[in-house]
Symmetry: C2
C-alpha cells in the first residue's frame, strides 16, 4: 500500500498498538490497541503525528505522495465497509478526529458525518429509510464543517437554527421535521458560501482532504497553544488525524450512545459509572439536552448489552491497569467502542484509586505513588463542602451553575459584584465571594479580601484563575451559564437571581456553584486513611527530606502533624510584628542609626546617652520575648532541627503603623509637643527607602545596628541551653539572611559564633548551634564556594532569588505585568509559584555544586514557597538538595512529589 520507498504516513488500526502513542496520538493508539484486543471498533486508519510535523515544517504543505497514500487507505476502508465515499447509492460516511499524544480535550477539531452532500444524503435517507435522520446528519455536518474547516462564526448557524425552531414551534432540535432540516441545510450552505466565498464542497474527497488539513492546522490554534503552555505540553509534537467509519446511535430505539467510567471519577469508588442515551449521538450526551440514563439502569433494560459493555470495561481496565473513560455507540443493537482513555479524576479519587489498585494487585506501590498528581492532594486538605449539606443543596435544586475548576477549595459567602464593595464588606466582617464577568488588575484588592471568585468568562489561564491559584483561594471561571450584571449588582442563572448580599457557595475543585449556604469543613490529613497510606509509601522511597516553614509553636505542631522532618525557616520578623512587641521594635529601629554612631564612638559618651539607654532597653525587652518564642518552637520540634533566621524585613513595614499614628497625632498638636512628635516622625521617615526590597534589610541591618543580632543569637542559644538542661533535645541553627559577600558572613560569624560558644561553654551543656546562610541574592549563588568556607549550611530563598534574578518585584509584578505575561503566553507559569529552572535553577545547581566542593557535608535546602510546588520539588531532588521546606499545609504535597522524584519522575512530567 502506498509507495514503499517513501516513509509511511498512515496506519490502519490493525497495524498499530498502544505503544505507538508518539506516532499515532492517544486516540489512534487506543483504537489500534482495542482492535488488537478484538474489541468492536469501527474500521479506520490514522495519519501520523510525524506527518503533521512534516506538514508544518513544509510551511503547511503535505509531503509529496501523501494524498495518493491516503487515497489507498481510503480504498481499503471502502472495501472493508462495503461502502464508497461519495457514492449516492451506498455512501461511506466517516468522522475526522484529531488525536495528539497528550489529551487536549476540546482544544482541537473534529468533523463528523463527513461524506454527505445532496446526493449522498438522499442515498442515506433511502438506505436507512429515515429521511429525518439523514438530513439531521447532513445539517450537523454542514454546520460542523463550516465552523471547523471554513472558520465560519458558529453563532450564525445557531441563530438560524433558533429561528427554525421558533417557526416550527419546536422545543428541541429533535422535534424538527425532515423538511425543516432540509431547509436548514440549504440555509446553512448559503451562509457558508456567503461568509467564505467558496462554501462547503460537494465533493466528498475534497471534504475529506480539507477536514484532514483543518485538524493539522488546529494544532497551532491559539486555544491549543495556550492549553499546551498551561499544561507544559511541548509545541513540537503535532497531532494525528483519525479517519473512522461512522456508526450511528441515533438510528432508533435499538441504538444509543454513552460514556462509561470503570471507577467513580469523583470518589474513586470501584464500580462502573456512566450515562447512556437511547437513540442519540455522542454529542447529545455531552450537550445535556436530554437527561441520560444512569449506566446501571441499562443493566435492567438491556442486560446483554450491559454485560458485553461491562466485560469490555473490565478488560480495558485490566489491560491498561488504570481506570478508563470509555465512549461507545450502539447502532441497531450492535455495540461499538469509539474511544478509551485514562479517566480524569478528582484528587480524592486519584488517591483512593491508586491505593485500592495497589491493594488489588493491579499495580504495585511505586506505580500507585506515580499515579497521583501531588498538587491534587491539596483537595483533601482544603476546606470542602460537608457531604450532607451538599446533598441537601442538590436536592433543593440549588446547584445553579458550573464552570471551569480554576482553583480548588470550597467557600460560602455573600455575592458581591465589584472589588471596592468586596473590600468594604470584608472590612465590615462579612465573608464575600467576588462575582465578575471577568477580572483584571483593577480587581486585585477585591480578590485579596474575598473568600472566593466566580467569573462567567475566561479560561483556565485568565486573570482570576491565575491570581486565585497564587493565593490558594477557590475560583470558578468561564461559568458561561450565568449572566453577570455588575451595574445591577446581580447575576442570573436560568430562573435563579442572585443579588448583592445573597449567599452563594462555590466548589473550585469541582467547578460548581450553589445558591445559598453550603456548609464547609476544613479537612485534615488524618481524615483520609488512603492518603496516609500513600504518603507512607512516598516516605519509604524518597531521598529528599521535607521540612516546614513555621514561625510559632502552633505552626510547628501543624508541621509535625503533616510529617515535617524539621523547621527550615523560622522567621523572627513575624514574631516582631506581634502587638505586644511592635512598639519595642519600633523604638529600637528608630534609635538604631544614632545608636550605630554612638557604638563607633567614645564608650563613656555612649553609656551616658539617653538614646543609647533607650535602645538597649528596647533590645533587652525584645530578648525576653524572643527567648520565650524560641523555647516554645524548639520544645515542640524536639529532636528535629529548627533553623532560625535572624531578623529580615524591610524596616518600613515595621514603622508604617507608627508613622501613620504620628501624622495623625501631629495634626492635633502645636508647640513643643508637636515639635517632639515631629522629631520622632523625622526619625521614622529617615528609614524610608525607594526600593526596600533591595535596601536596608537582612544582614545589612544586623551589621549596621549594634547588638541586634547578638541579642537574637543570645536568645536562641539560651533557649537551647534551658531546654537541654530540662533534658529536651533542642536543635537550633542560626541562619543569616540576604548575604551577598563572604566578608559579610565572616564579620557576623566573628561577632556571633564566639558569643554562642561562650554561652554554651559557660552553661556546660552539649549543644552545637550551626551557623549558615540564606542564598537569596544572585551574587551569593555565584560565590557559593566562598560562602561555604564559613557557612555550615545553605538555604535557598527562592522567592528573593527569583525577585532579584528576574528583577520582578513580587509586590508589583503580578498586578502590573506578570498576569498579562502569562495570559499572553510569554511565560508559561508564574515563576513565584513554580521555580524558573533555566535562570534561578541554574544558580541553585551552581551554588550547590560549588558549595559542596568546598564543604562536602554542606547541608543544602530551599525555603521559598517553591518548596511546596511539586515540579519544583522534583527539581530540588534532581539538583541534589538535602531538603525542601514549605508551609506546613504543603508538606504532604512535597512528600508525595519527593517520593515520585525518587522513582525517577522527571520535572517536566509533573
Amino acid at each position: 500500500m502506498a509507495t514503499t520507498t517513501e516513509r509511511k504516513h498512515i496506519y490502519r488500526f490493525e497495524e498499530g498498538d498502544a505503544s505507538m502513542r508518539d506516532l499515532l496520538g492517544g486516540k489512534g493508539a487506543g483504537l489500534s490497541e482495542m482492535v488488537r484486543l478484538g474489541l468492536p471498533v469501527p474500521p479506520g486508519f490514522t495519519v501520523t503525528t510525524e506527518t503533521c510535523r512534516e506538514y508544518i515544517a513544509l510551511g503547511n504543505r503535505v509531503p509529496d505522495g501523501f494524498w495518493e497514500e491516503f487515497r489507498a487507505y481510503l480504498t481499503d476502508l471502502e472495501q472493508k465497509t462495503g461502502k464508497t465515499l461519495g457514492d449516492a447509492a451506498n455512501p461511506l460516511l466517516v468522522s475526522v478526529r484529531s488525536g495528539a499524544k497528550f489529551s487536549m480535550p476540546g482544544m482541537m477539531d473534529t468533523v463528523l458525518n463527513l461524506g454527505l452532500n445532496d446526493q449522498t444524503a438522499q442515498g442515506l435517507a433511502r438506505l436507512t429509510n429515515d429521511e429525518r435522520f439523514a438530513y439531521d446528519a447532513y445539517r450537523r455536518f454542514v454546520q460542523m464543517f463550516s465552523k471547523v474547516v471554513l472558520g465560519v462564526n458558529a453563532d450564525l448557524f445557531e441563530e438560524v437554527l433558533h429561528h427554525a425552531k421558533e417557526r416550527a414551534g419546536a422545543a428541541t432540535d429533535a422535534e424538527l421535521s425532515a423538511t425543516a432540516l432540509k431547509g436548514l441545510v440549504a440555509e446553512f450552505k448559503q451562509i457558508a458560501a456567503r461568509e467564505t466565498g467558496r462554501g462547503v464542497p460537494d465533493d466528498a474527497w475534497e471534504q475529506l482532504q480539507l477536514a484532514s488539513l483543518a485538524v493539522f492546522n488546529s494544532w497551532n490554534n491559539p486555544r491549543a497553544v495556550t492549553y499546551r503552555n498551561f499544561n507544559r505540553i511541548p509545541h513540537d509534537l503535532g497531532t494525528a488525524v483519525n479517519i473512522v467509519a461512522m456508526v450511528f446511535g441515533n438510528m432508533g430505539e435499538d441504538s444509543g450512545s454513552g460514556v462509561l467510567f470503570t471507577r467513580d471519577a469523583a470518589t474513586g469508588q470501584n464500580e462502573l459509572y456512566g450515562e447512556y442515551l437511547t437513540n442519540a449521538q455522542g454529542e447529545d450526551v455531552v450537550a445535556g439536552i436530554r437527561t441520560p440514563t444512569k449506566i446501571k439502569q441499562l443493566h435492567e433494560q438491556q442486560p446483554h448489552l450491559y454485560e458485553q459493555l461491562a466485560d469490555i470495561a473490565r478488560r480495558l481496565e485490566q489491560h491498561y491497569r488504570d481506570a478508563q473513560d470509555i465512549e461507545f455507540t450502539v447502532e441497531r443493537g450492535t455495540l461499538y467502542i469509539l474511544q478509551t482513555r485514562s479517566a480524569k479524576r478528582t484528587g480524592p479519587a486519584a488517591v483512593r484509586m491508586a491505593v485500592e489498585m495497589a491493594a488489588e494487585g493491579l499495580i504495585d506501590r511505586n506505580e500507585a505513588l506515580l499515579r497521583v498528581p501531588p498538587g491534587d492532594i491539596v483537595q483533601l486538605l482544603l476546606p470542602r463542602f460537608v457531604a450532607a449539606a451538599k446533598q441537601q443543596a442538590l436536592e433543593e435544586g440549588r446547584r445553579i451553575g458550573a464552570g471551569l475548576a480554576a482553583s480548588p477549595g470550597a467557600a460560602s459567602g455573600k455575592a458581591v459584584f465589584d472589588a471596592d464593595r468586596a473590600v468594604a464588606m470584608a472590612n465590615a466582617g462579612e465573608t464575600v465571594i467576588l462575582v465578575r464577568p471577568e477580572t483584571n488588575p483593577d480587581d486585585v484588592h477585591g480578590i485579596l479580601k474575598a473568600a472566593g471568585v466566580l467569573t462567567s468568562r475566561g479560561g483556565i489561564t485568565s486573570h482570576a484563575a491565575v491570581v486565585t491559584r497564587g493565593l490558594g483561594k477557590p475560583c470558578i471561571v468561564g461559568a458561561t451559564g450565568i449572566a453577570v450584571d455588575p451595574a445591577a449588582r446581580r447575576f442570573t442563572s436560568g430562573d435563579h437571581v442572585i443579588n448583592e448580599g445573597d449567599l452563594i457557595s462555590i466548589d473550585g475543585g469541582a467547578g460548581e456553584v450553589y445558591a445559598g449556604a453550603v456548609d464547609t469543613v476544613q479537612q485534615k490529613l488524618s481524615d483520609s486513611a488512603e492518603l496516609l497510606t500513600l504518603l507512607e509509601w512516598a516516605d519509604s522511597v524518597r531521598r529528599l527530606q521535607v521540612w516546614a516553614n513555621a514561625d510559632y509553636p502552633t505552626d510547628a505542631q501543624a508541621a509535625l502533624a503533616h510529617g515535617a522532618q524539621g523547621i527550615g525557616l523560622c522567621r523572627t520578623e513575624h514574631m516582631f510584628f506581634q502587638q505586644d512587641r511592635l512598639p519595642h521594635v519600633q523604638d529600637m529601629l528608630m534609635l538604631a542609626p544614632e545608636a550605630a554612631r554612638l557604638a563607633a564612638g567614645d564608650a563613656a559618651a555612649r553609656e551616658s546617652s539617653p538614646v543609647w539607654q533607650s535602645y538597649q532597653a528596647a533590645l533587652a525587652k525584645l530578648e525576653e520575648f524572643q527567648t520565650a518564642d524560641f523555647t516554645g518552637i524548639l520544645e515542640t520540634m524536639q529532636g528535629k532541627p529548627v533553623i532560625i533566621r535572624l531578623l529580615d524585613a524591610p524596616l518600613h513595614e515595621f514603622l508604617k503603623p507608627r508613622e501613620e499614628a504620628l501624622e495623625r497625632e501631629i495634626r492635633g498638636l502645636s508647640g513643643g509637643a508637636a515639635a517632639t512628635k515631629q522629631e520622632e516622625l523625622r526619625r521614622v521617615q529617615r528609614l524610608h527607602e525607594a526600593n526596600p526590597m533591595l535596601g536596608h534589610r537582612g544582614l545589612r541591618v544586623g551589621i549596621t545596628f549594634p547588638g541586634l543580632y547578638e541579642m537574637q543569637a543570645r536568645a536562641i542559644t539560651n533557649a537551647g541551653i534551658a531546654l537541654k538542661r530540662r533534658g529536651i533535645d533542642a536543635r537550633p541553627e542560626i541562619m543569616i539572611p540576604l548575604t551577598a559577600f563572604a566578608a559579610e558572613l565572616e564579620r557576623l560569624r566573628d561577632r556571633l559564633v564566639p558569643l554562642v560558644e561562650g554561652l554554651i561553654r559557660d552553661a556546660g551543656v552539649d549543644l552545637h548551634v550551626p551557623y549558615g546562610t540564606m542564598v537569596e541574592t544572585p551574587r551569593a549563588a555565584l560565590v557559593a564556594g566562598e560562602l561555604a568556607q564559613t557557612a555550615e549550611f545553605f538555604s535557598f530563598g527562592s522567592n528573593d532569588l527569583t525577585q532579584m534574578s528576574l528583577a520582578f518585584s513580587r509586590d508589583d509584578a503580578e498586578e502590573k505585568f506578570l498576569t498579562e505575561y502569562i495570559e499572553q503566553g510569554i511565560l508559561p507559569v508564574n515563576p513565584f509559584a513554580e521555580l524558573d529552572r533555566t535562570g534561578v535553577g541554574r544558580l541553585i545547581k551552581l551554588a550547590t555544586a560549588e558549595g559542596r566542593a568546598v564543604r562536602a557535608d554542606l547541608s543544602v535546602g530551599i525555603c521559598g514557597e517553591h518548596g511546596g510546588d511539586p515540579s519544583s520539588v522534583v527539581f530540588c531532588h534532581e539538583a541534589g538538595l538535602n531538603y525542601v521546606s514549605c508551609s506546613p499545609f504543603r508538606v504532604p504535597v512535597a512528600r508525595l512529589a519527593a517520593g515520585q522524584a525518587a522513582l525517577g519522575t522527571k520535572e517536566k512530567d509533573v
Copy 2:
C-alpha cells in the same frame, strides 16, 4: 652567616638588589640597589617579608633560630661601623623601619635612634661633644618607642612636652636646653612605665627585638588593613624590617636633611625640586616646624654637595627610568642617601613626565602609557584653579589649610556648616562648600547640593570621601589643621577665621584650602598637548573600543571631542523628561493600562473610545519630538553607531510632578471638578509601586503598553531614513531594556523588526537597524545563549546588573549601609563605582561566552558607569568585550585604560 641548613631570613644591603622587592620590600630593595650602584648608603640589613609571614603563620612567634641569625647580622653591622649596640663608650644607634612591597606611607611603624639608654646617651654626648643633641635624640627615642612598640597614647607625651616648653619659655623644641631634655626623658620614661607596667627597656638588644616585632605586628594594624583594602593591596604579603645604622643631620651647621624630586611632582617639569634643612633630622623637614631651603639654594650655599646630590639624582632616575623621590642626610659634611622611590605625582605631572621621558628616550611609548594611572587624568579635565589666581592667593597668604586629597577638582563657594543650611543656600542660588568635622549619612542631602566638601577629620575611606568621589565633586578630608565649630558656624585655622557665608576655595586634587575666592576654569582635553599625545598612543595599541553614553546632540558632540567611537547608550527616557514633552508622556502613561485593555478587545469599540483617542494623540505628539531628537543625534554621530535604548524608567518618576500638582489642585476644588481630578489622581496612583526598580519598567512597559515601542522604533527608523536620503551615514541601532526571558525579546522582535524593515523597504534606502538587548538582569546573563538567538548585540547594564545581583538599591544603599560597609572594610570599594568582578563580572564573562557560542559575531559592550572606571575597563578588555561606553567626560580615561589593558596591565594593577 647564621646556620646554613635553615632558610635565610636576613640580607645585608650588599646581598640584595632591586629585583628582590617581594622579599625585601620596597625600601630594603631600594637600599640594596643603591649599595650595588656604589651610592653612599648607611650600612644595614633587611629582615625578609617571608619572615613576617612566617611570624604571623606561627601565631606571632619568630621561627626557631631567628634571633641567633639576627644577632650575627648585627655583629657584622657593628664591625662595619666600628660601634657596638649598647656600648656606652661607642654606641651603635640604628633605625628600625618597616618596608612592604608596596609603599604604604604612614601606615606602618618606624623607630629611630634605637640603642639609647642612660649610659649610651651619656656616651653619645661625650662622643659628639653635644649633650643637647644626645638628649634630644634620647627624648625622641623614648617617645617613639613608647608609642610604636608599647602602644602608649602619644598625646600624653605631647602634653608634657608642651608644659616643658611653657616652663622654659621656649617656642620650639629646638630651644629646649640639654637639662630640660634630660628632665623630659625621665618624665617620658615614667609615663611609659606607668601606662604599660614595664616601660622602655634599658637593654639595647631587647629594644631591638621588641621594635622589630612591633614592625611585624604593624602589618595588621587597623589603619594598615584599611589602607590595603582601599588600595587593593593583598593582605598576605607581610612587611620587611630594615635595620639601618643611624646618621644624624642635626650635628651642626655642616649637617642637614632633605628630600629631592628629580622632576616637579606637581607640574612634571624636568628640573630638580626639593627642600633642605640645615642642622635637622628628616622628621623636622616633614613636620614643617622650620622653613626649609629650596634645594636650588643649596647650589649657591654648598655647590659641591649640590653637585654630588644632583649627580646621584640623575643616576637614580636613569637607573630606575622614572622620576625619583630621594631622602638624604648630611652628617658633618658627608652625604648619605636614606631612601629612593618612584615619586608620587599629580595627574598633569604624570602625563607630562611620561610623554617627555618617552621623548627623551628614557622609556618607550608603551612604558609611557603604563606610567599614567588612568583615573588621574581626570585632573586635566575637571575644573582647576586659574594659575594666576592661585599664585595671587598664595602671595596674599590665603592658603589656610591642607588635608587628604579625597576627590579631585577645584571649587570656590560660601562656607556652610550643616547640611540643611547647604540645601537652603544652594536653593537660593548660592554656590556652597560644606564644611564639617566629618560627615555621616544625615548629611547626604547637603553634599548633593554643595560644590565641594571639606572635613577636618576622617581618612581617604571616610564617608565624605566615599560619597564625593561617587559624585565627582572636589573633597578634602582630614584637614587636621583646621578647627570646625558647627554650632558657632565657623572654622579657624591658625589666625584665620571663616564664618558661614565667607568665601573659601578648595583643590580636592592637591588637598589645599584657600580663604576667599580663587577663580576656577573648566579644562578641555585640547588644552593639554601631552595628554592628546598620550591618548593617541593609547589608541594605537588598544583593541577595546571606547564609546560614550549620550542623550542629546550636545552630549554627542562632547563625546566626539573626547574621542568616542560610537554612542553605546542613548536613553530615550531623558528626552521624555523635557518640559515640553512631559505632559504628553504623563497623558500617555496614565491612559496606558486602559489602552492596553482596549487593545485586547473589540476594534470598533477601541477606535471610538475617547481614552484610546487621547492615548494615540499623545503617542503621535511624542513621535514628532522623538523623530527630531534622533535625527539630531544621528546626524552628529554620522558614520558611527548610535545605540538607542527604548523607554526604560520607573513610571512613577514621570508621574510624580503630576501627582503633586493634582493633590494641590484638588485641595482648592469641590464637586464635579474635584471628582474629575480625583479620577485623574487615581489613575496616577494606580501606577505606584513598592519596588519600582524591580517593577513595571523597561521592556515590560513596551510589551504591555500598546504602540509605545512601535512609536519609538518608527521614530528611529524614520530619522535614519531621512538622513540617508540627505546622504548622511546614519547608523541607528535599537536596544531593548531589562530583558529577562528570551520570549520577551522574541515577542518584541516580532512586533518591531517587521515594522522597521517595512519602513526601510518602502523608503528604498540602504539601512540596517540592528536589534539588540541590554543584559542587566542576572537571568538575562544566565540565558545569554537563548537571547543571542534573537539579539544582534548585547550591552551589559552594569548598574542594574549590580543592583540585582547584590540586591543593592542604588538609591538607598549608599546612605543606609554601603558607606558604612566601606568604612568597616567589609567591601573594599563601592561596587557601583568599580565592577564587582567575582559576582557581576562572572555573569558578564559567562554571558559573553555563551552569547558568542550561539552568534559568533555578537557585538558585546558595557554601558553602565563602570565603562569609565579604569580597573573595570581592564576587566572588560580581559573579558573580550568589543567596547565600553561611558559618559563623554570619562572617554579619555577609558581610552588610556584600554590602551594599558592591551599592553597587558592586569586589572589588579590599576
